[in-house]
Every structure is written in structure tokens, then in C-alpha cells.
């Protein structure tokens, strides 16, 4: 459990460690976690993200991320980064400043984009900026 509490938004090599966590452990993280599969369907969605967006997991899980869950990420800053990484068979671990529309309010956040050719699940992590 110590490893779990130690996990933060900026922990290095986070992708592998997230994969080890079960749903309950994921819910305890203080940053939003959205995991999606090869078809961009959301397969992991933690409580922090659910609370911030005002959406319960059943409305989100199984839905395509960039069209049905977070269309605001469907541009070259986010969605295309994942596509490029996929096309180039390369890993992606990048953090960008962004504004999400959580409950229709513009909210300044940092997004961390994680992907790896060896991992079936890719992640968008969300941390509020102050």
C-alpha cells in the first residue's frame, strides 16, 4: 500500500504502475485517471475524475473516449498525439497545460498522456492547476 500512496501525477514510469492497480486502488488516487483501450473505448475511470466531471462510471465505461466522453480532447494536442504514437510504435509520456470543461466550467488542468506499444491500455491523467 505504501507504493500506492506514493503514486502521484508526476511519478516517473507511471504507466506500468497504473496497470498493477485494481479499481479500488485507482479510486484512491488524488488525480483523475481515464484509461482507454485500442479502440479508444474507456476501460478505466477513477473516482477523482468521475467526481470532477459529474459523471458516474456507467455513463462512461465502454464509450469511445474522444467522441462520446471527452470530445474536448479530440484535437491535435491530445488525440492526435496518441495516434502518432500508435502509428510510430513509440511510447508517449508527455504533460501539457490544458483547460477542461468540467461541469461546463473551464478548469485549468495539466494532462499527462501515457501510451506504450507494450501496453494495451493508454491513459489520460488529469491534475488541477492552481
Amino acid at each position: 500500500m505504501n507504493t500506492l500512496t506514493a503514486l502521484s501525477f508526476s511519478t516517473p514510469a507511471l504507466l506500468d504502475q497504473l496497470a498493477q492497480l485494481n479499481a479500488e486502488q485507482l479510486d484512491q488516487l488524488d488525480f483523475g485517471v481515464i484509461g482507454f483501450d485500442a479502440d479508444t473505448k474507456v476501460c478505466r475511470y477513477n473516482r477523482t475524475e468521475s467526481d470532477a466531471a459529474g459523471l458516474t462510471p456507467p455513463r462512461v465505461l465502454g464509450q469511445p473516449l474522444f467522441t462520446n466522453v471527452a470530445p474536448c480532447l479530440h484535437n491535435f494536442m491530445v488525440a492526435q498525439r496518441f495516434e502518432d504514437a500508435e502509428d510510430g510504435h513509440s511510447a508517449l509520456d508527455d504533460t501539457i497545460d490544458y483547460v477542461l470543461t468540467l461541469r461546463m466550467r473551464p478548469v485549468k488542468v495539466q494532462l499527462r498522456l501515457l501510451a506504450d506499444p507494450g501496453s494495451a491500455v493508454r491513459y489520460v491523467l488529469v491534475q488541477r492547476r492552481l
Binding site: 471527452a70 470530445p71 484535437n75 483547460v99 470543461t101 473551464p106
Partner: protein, 466 residues
């Protein structure tokens, strides 16, 4: 007690329903395919849905999205001013304003935005003195389609105006007419029986070979179109001047050999014929003889040989020279010589097919390129010409000038010779005809080439004396 419990249960139930409705409403806004933004009167963003963020975030340089006017500053700097000077208390400030985005110079320049919108549509509604509502959407695709429609309109206008009439002809992969419509009848006088015939049916006899029918289709495949202007034939045998454009039909059903694969627009431009003919004549005709000039010959010959390399087939070249022309000039003067050349031009035009390229390439030297002809075929036509010329003395100034020609013939089975080599061989054969006594036809053979190269070393240019 019971009432209190049921009241509490009712309250929880209502809360749950409200929460569920709220969540559904929120998702409704999350998923709305148009952008909705509510701002303060100064553009400060109060509420915004995700599509707005998708459209506006790529325009942001600092990764923030707090003010709509700031977000659009780089692409629509007039917005703030537009709102500030809007006179009424409420109302539409702008409706469907097209904002053209410019992605160059964006902070993340290394990333070429692949699917980024090019044009946004923005409507701004002033609600009152403190609030604005904005509707944003990506209209790139509509704008692109509209542009294409306008382009199509322009094409149609170009095709349909200032012409006598036009026929729309569907062609299959082999260039055969696929189906019947009235425009074909109107322009060409043909009936439905013409369906199934290759489009060469519209050309005068001998004006196009089967291979050239295919050449034009291939060129339409490669360039998107093929344009050909020239004489065409009506069903009753009369001719009209036409412009014919063939273009491939996009996404034609390639599996079905009977489906239309090309569209041919055949325009009757007889009105313009004179102008076109004059232009063509001045550029491509030899003034004296009326046959093509050197420029026209080499352009046409290069094109034909280029096509020949793509789709190899026999091709022949004849070089023809008036015998003893120098003597004719000496005895009758240059006007006499000119009369002889004019007569030769007439004989050439009468002998060869329309599809053959007949040209005066030198003082008294003519060249004829015969597409889809073999050596023997070309030699027999050349022989016909020789006889015709010999039989018709040229009437000039009360005298009759007898004239004969010599000709050299060379041919290729297709694809393996360039124009220079073909010309060289025909020239060697012509030399042999001169050396053999004139007024005769010689065909090129490999042996000829050998013996001549030896002789040429000894007395270069001797044929010019002939």
C-alpha cells in the same frame, strides 16, 4: 412516524431522480456536437461545453481558456470591438460569421494538425448588458463542399455557354458508347443503334486508329481529362467541328465491364471553327503546301511515339524528296518550284489517311508518320504516291513540269525506336532510293545501314546533290 419515514424516502427518491437528471443533462451538454459558450460582456468564459474547448484550445498559446475574445484574438480580432459597439441591449451580434483559421505559426509548429478545422462558424448572441452566448462549430467540410459546387458550376458554365450544342456520351472501359440519350441524336444525328460502337464512330474515316481510341482513354485516366478538337462526322456523313472532352467517372464500377467508365462531352463548335482553323494554320501549317510544318510534325510525332512506348504497336515513317528539284528551280524559276511543291502537297493530302501526319520538313522534303502501320503497308502507300505524282505533270506558265519523287520507308514494330532513329533509318532508305536511280521507293534494312555508313564516311552529304 410513518408519514415522516415516507416523506424522507420520498425526499431521497426525489434527490436521486434530480441527480440522475442532472447527470443526463450534463452529458447532453458534454456530447453536444456544436460548441456552446456563455461569457461575460468582456468575453470572460462563464460556462463552456467540451466541443468549444476542442475547437478553441488549439488556438490558445498559453494553454488557458478563460476569455473567448482572447482565444479568438489571433483569428478574429474584431470580435471585442464588434460587441463593444453593438448598439442594442440584446440581440444577435453576429450570425454564422466564418472564421478562417491559420495553423501556421502555432506554438506547437512541429505537430502538423492533421484533422484540425480550417473554418469555424461563430454566432454571438447578446443576452443582456452582462452576458453573451456563443455558438461555435467546425464548418470546414461545408465550406469545402460549397467551394467544390461553385467550381462545378464554373465548369458547367464553361461547357454550356456559347456553344451551338453538346452531346453527353457515356463510354465503357474500351471506349464504347454505353447508353443512349437525346443529346447524342441532336448533335450527331445518330440513332440508338450507335450504342455499343466505339466513340471513333464520330470521327471521319481514317481520322483515328483503334490504338488512339485507347490512348485518349489512358490519358484521361492519367490527367483526369483528355481534350481533342477537330472534325467530326454526323450519321449522314456531313462534318462538323467539335471539341471533345473525355474524363474518367470517379468511383466507376470497375467490376462491371458494361458500366460507364468515362464521360465524353462532345461540343459542336462549328461557330468557332474558322478562328480555330486560322490559329491552327498559322501555327502548324506550311503556308505554301497546306500540309503541316516542321513544328507540327515533330510535336505530333513525339506525342505518337510517346504513346507508342506506353502501348507498343507498329509505326512507320516515310521521307519523300522531289527528284531533281534544283533543276526545276533553275529552269522555271522559284515560282515554278513553288507550283511543284503545292502540287506535291495536294498529292500527299490525297494519298494519306487523316490520321497520318503529313508535313513539309525541308525545302523539297516531306515526311509522313503513319500510326499503326507496318513497313509493307507504308511502302505500298508510298508507291501509290509515287505513281500519282508521276502521272500528274504540273501546269505552270503555259508549260507542263514533269516531276517525280523518291521515298525512304522505315518502320518499328512498336516501342523500341525513338523519333531520331526512325528518321535516320528513313533517311538512309531515301538515300538508297536516290542512289538507285530516283523515282522509286526503298525500305530500310539493316544491311542498308551498314553499307551506307561506310559510304557516308567517304562522301558526306552527297544526297543533297541529288
Amino acid at each position: 412516524m410513518i408519514d415522516q419515514v415516507s416523506l424522507q424516502a420520498f425526499g431521497e427518491d426525489a434527490n436521486a431522480r434530480l441527480a440522475s437528471e442532472h447527470e443526463a443533462l450534463m452529458q447532453f451538454l458534454y456530447l453536444s456536437p456544436v460548441g456552446l459558450v456563455q461569457t461575460g460582456i468582456d468575453g470572460e468564459i462563464l460556462m463552456i461545453n467540451p466541443i468549444s474547448a476542442q475547437l478553441l484550445m488549439p488556438l490558445q498559446r498559453d494553454g488557458n481558456l478563460l476569455n473567448l475574445f482572447d482565444a479568438l484574438e489571433g483569428v478574429a480580432p474584431e470580435l471585442r470591438h464588434l460587441c463593444a459597439t453593438f448598439g442594442r441591449r440584446d440581440g444577435m451580434v453576429c450570425d454564422g460569421l466564418h472564421i478562417h483559421l491559420n495553423h501556421t505559426g502555432h506554438a506547437s509548429g512541429a505537430l502538423r494538425p492533421r484533422r484540425s478545422p480550417q473554418v469555424l462558424s461563430l454566432s454571438l448572441l447578446k443576452l443582456d448588458d452582462t452576458r453573451l452566448m456563443a455558438v461555435l462549430s467546425d464548418v470546414s467540410e461545408q465550406v469545402r463542399r460549397e467551394r467544390q459546387l461553385r467550381q462545378n458550376d464554373a465548369w458547367l458554365n464553361a461547357l454550356l455557354t456559347s456553344i451551338t450544342d453538346y452531346a453527353l456520351v457515356g463510354l465503357d472501359r474500351e471506349g464504347r458508347i454505353v447508353d443512349w440519350n437525346d443529346t447524342i441524336g441532336r448533335v450527331t444525328g445518330h440513332t440508338e443503334a450507335v450504342v455499343g460502337a466505339p466513340y471513333s464512330v464520330f470521327y471521319p474515316v481514317d481520322a483515328i486508329t483503334d490504338e488512339q481510341v485507347h490512348d485518349r482513354l489512358r490519358e484521361a485516366d492519367q490527367n483526369g481529362w483528355n481534350l481533342d478538337e477537330g472534325a467530326r462526322l454526323r450519321a449522314d456523313g456531313s462534318q462538323f467541328w467539335a471539341s471533345a472532352m473525355i474524363s474518367p467517372i470517379p468511383d466507376a464500377e470497375l467490376d462491371d465491364p458494361d458500366a460507364p467508365a468515362y464521360c465524353m462531352v462532345l461540343r459542336d463548335i462549328s461557330d468557332k471553327r474558322e478562328a480555330v482553323e486560322t490559329r491552327r494554320k498559322s501555327a502548324f501549317c506550311d503556308h505554301l503546301t497546306g500540309v503541316a510544318n516542321r513544328r507540327a510534325f515533330f510535336e505530333a510525332a513525339e506525342l505518337e511515339l510517346q504513346r507508342n512506348r506506353r502501348a507498343p504497336r507498329p509505326i512507320a515513317l516515310i521521307l519523300i524528296d522531289a527528284d531533281h528539284f534544283k533543276c526545276i528551280n533553275d529552269r522555271h524559276g522559284h515560282p515554278g518550284g513553288d507550283a511543284v511543291l503545292r502540287q506535291l502537297g495536294l498529292c500527299l493530302s490525297a494519298t494519306f489517311r487523316q490520321v497520318d501526319v503529313v508535313a513539309r520538313v525541308g525545302g523539297e522534303e516531306f515526311a509522313v508518320l503513319l500510326p499503326s502501320s507496318t513497313l509493307d503497308g507504308a511502302a505500298s502507300v508510298a508507291e501509290r504516291l509515287r505513281q500519282l505524282v508521276q502521272a500528274q505533270a504540273v501546269a505552270f506558265d503555259g508549260a507542263h513540269i514533269g516531276v517525280t519523287v523518291s521515298a525512304g520507308v522505315a518502320a518499328s514494330e512498336g516501342g523500341d525506336l525513338d523519333l531520331d532513329s526512325l528518321m535516320k533509318r528513313a533517311d538512309q532508305a531515301l538515300y538508297a532510293a536516290k542512289a538507285g536511280g530516283r523515282n522509286r521507293i526503298e525500305c530500310w534494312t539493316p544491311a542498308l545501314s551498314l553499307s551506307l555508313s561506310k559510304r557516308a564516311d567517304q562522301s558526306p552529304g552527297s544526297r543533297d546533290e541529288a
